[in-house]
Symmetry: C2
């Protein structure tokens, strides 16, 4: 299975491409913004495609040609300018969803925020609410698209070493999760067709990733 990783040069993306390349049944195409980001991925034996998410749907669709799945893990993060929040976290995600349709790629995994429900927008601190809103609308767009989607809602991201042990369910108490473990969850999701049409929150926990994902 060939997987286009959108946002490959992000911290989750780098772990993800590495895990995909280590996995015998998967191979990665890293979508990156700049040519100079390519060497890391080439050293892992991954393909690269240089596309900026502010380009149009056709440019993204071209990067998606011939892949079997798309993972959207790009993100301006909650602390960039709010112009990037709407242009990357919302519009970049929607363009990638439209590109999946154009390229005929059915499988789509979205890395969302922990809670993107309407109530979470209302309750978020003012500085964080625009990010939650952007992720809310991107998730809504994906649910309405005719794709085999999974939406993963990770807790508070850390750079701690992954433990491979998580808790996953539709509605859990927020907690931390290492970015490395988020990447492991994405791989397990790619390998588990039962996750199609589902979404779940993940935090650190006491179940091995595959087992936790299996029980969703």
């Amino acid at each position: 299975m060939k997987v286009l990783v959108v946002g490959a040069n992000g911290q989750i993306g780098k772990h993800l491409v590495s895990f995909i390349q280590e996995n015998e049944s998967l191979e990665a195409r890293a979508m990156i913004r700049k040519e100079e980001q390519a060497s890391y991925f080439e050293s892992l034996g991954a393909e690269t495609a240089v596309v900026d998410l502010e380009e149009d749907v056709d440019a993204i669709a071209k990067a998606a040609e011939g892949v079997d799945a798309i993972v959207f893990t790009a993100g301006s993060g909650p602390h960039t300018g709010k112009d990037k929040t709407i242009m990357i976290d919302l519009d970049g995600a929607v363009k990638t969803i439209e590109a999946a349709k154009t390229a005929g790629v059915k499988r789509f995994i979205m890395i969302s925020s922990f809670d993107t429900r309407r109530q979470a927008i209302q309750e978020a601190p003012a500085s964080f609410a625009p990010y939650v809103a952007a992720k809310h609308y991107a998730d809504e767009w994906l649910r309405a698209a005719d794709l085999d989607y999974t939406i993963i809602h990770p807790g508070l991201l850390t750079n701690n070493k992954g433990t491979g042990q998580i808790k996953a369910a539709a509605d859990i108490k927020i907690g931390e999760i290492p970015r490395e473990d988020v990447a492991k969850v994405i791989v397990a999701t790619l390998e588990n067709e039962e996750t199609v049409g589902k979404e779940f929150q993940i935090v650190h926990g006491d179940k091995p990733v595959e087992e936790a994902i299996h029980s969703i």
Copy 2:
């Protein structure tokens, strides 16, 4: 017909409430953010409802109780902070659409931007693109809602005195239009049921407003 004007204290909104109050078959309820904005509308004999668009759907739905139509003409404008662009122009609009459903108000008129199509987002200058994107997604949400909508796409807004003469069609060359004339177009749209399910651009022109709207 009672009309909830969302964004009543804006420049288009103030003209609009005034025109509605002058019209025998219409009456306005001005939705405003602060109590101290009420006196202008009370002097026109209009009702007021104090609700901030950053409040939740229920608060907006309460303001919409018992009205026959909602006009959304709130806007952070293209030059406010981008956090307000997503929270007001997109999320505020979507919450108002959801509030219309909650309150059982079928008629909804959206004051959009001149061109909110995908291509317009791509072609907009970087500083303007987030605003176009926000309006794009708000329009998309309205089209997908089961409401009797009309989307009005005005050209470059000016504070010139209105002439009552416009050009209106699905796809025209951009030009200026006085805010006062936009308000006249909204009144004509409220009074013309043939505009339901339609959207059109407007600029200054050589046809009286009612006639121009009639030919859509």
